[in-house]
Symmetry: C2
Subunit: 162 residues, 2 copies
Amino acid sequence: MQIREATAADWAAIWPFFHTIVAAGETYTYPRDMEEAAGRATWMLEPPGITFVAVDEGGRVLGSAKTGPNHMGGASHIAGASFMVDPRCGAKGVGRALGEHVLEWAKSEGYRAMQFNAVVETNTRAVALWKSLGFEIVATLTEGFRHPERGFVGLHIMYQRF
Amino acid sequence: MQIREATAADWAAIWPFFHTIVAAGETYTYPRDMEEAAGRATWMLEPPGITFVAVDEGGRVLGSAKTGPNHMGGASHIAGASFMVDPRCGAKGVGRALGEHVLEWAKSEGYRAMQFNAVVETNTRAVALWKSLGFEIVATLTEGFRHPERGFVGLHIMYQRF
């Protein structure tokens, strides 16, 4: 597995799993009916943001991450990030590799911290992964997320200083 | 004092104090050199967001607030809001009146909670006002804000369910 900056051409490989994950509505605070153009605008960032892909030896896209400033002005030293792994490629360490890469990128760019605004508490694998990479749950917004099957559940805010 | 929905024509009265507050860089996470067009796009919201102004008996704009969804999709029942009061009109209850109005609006629109993403901890008057209106500090991002005089200070996330 290799992680590299995404190109415009990678979107065609990202969109199918992006769409699957967003339409499921279980882990992302995006509209479940988000269309492809809006998805592309949301995910394929311009500087100072950046989008990465994880690819296998054959060049197949296994997952993607986007990162950049989570705030402007006096809080622009806090990065944010989002991650999606093709569900057909789960449990192969793709999310962890993307997380490590994004943290390294943010540190090298001079960010001083990273914040995740909205981690659904029922997404326990993601919560455990981010904890293992140094993030803390700094707050849980009670009933902050309406899960399509479980109803209102908590929405974690996670944070790590470098 | 009356609070009403802002019109496009109100921007000319908002911009002077918006600019003063943003350029000071002490309370807002906006770029301190934000130009007028970017300020207008940031502040004068389209639906589902809305912008209000507080005006005195003579129609003078004393302050303004914007509110709307703070998240999308499964968390779109959480509203966000931002407030600016003309520093020349401080301590007259303008901020409190705008806060009460925005909370009423969000409840009437069916939101279930309101979240403030970034309240600078040294902005103690604002913190006290939001607490008095029912908000809790659910997290403080350590060194989350670079204050121009005090250096790195905490950035509060405040939340209230309805």
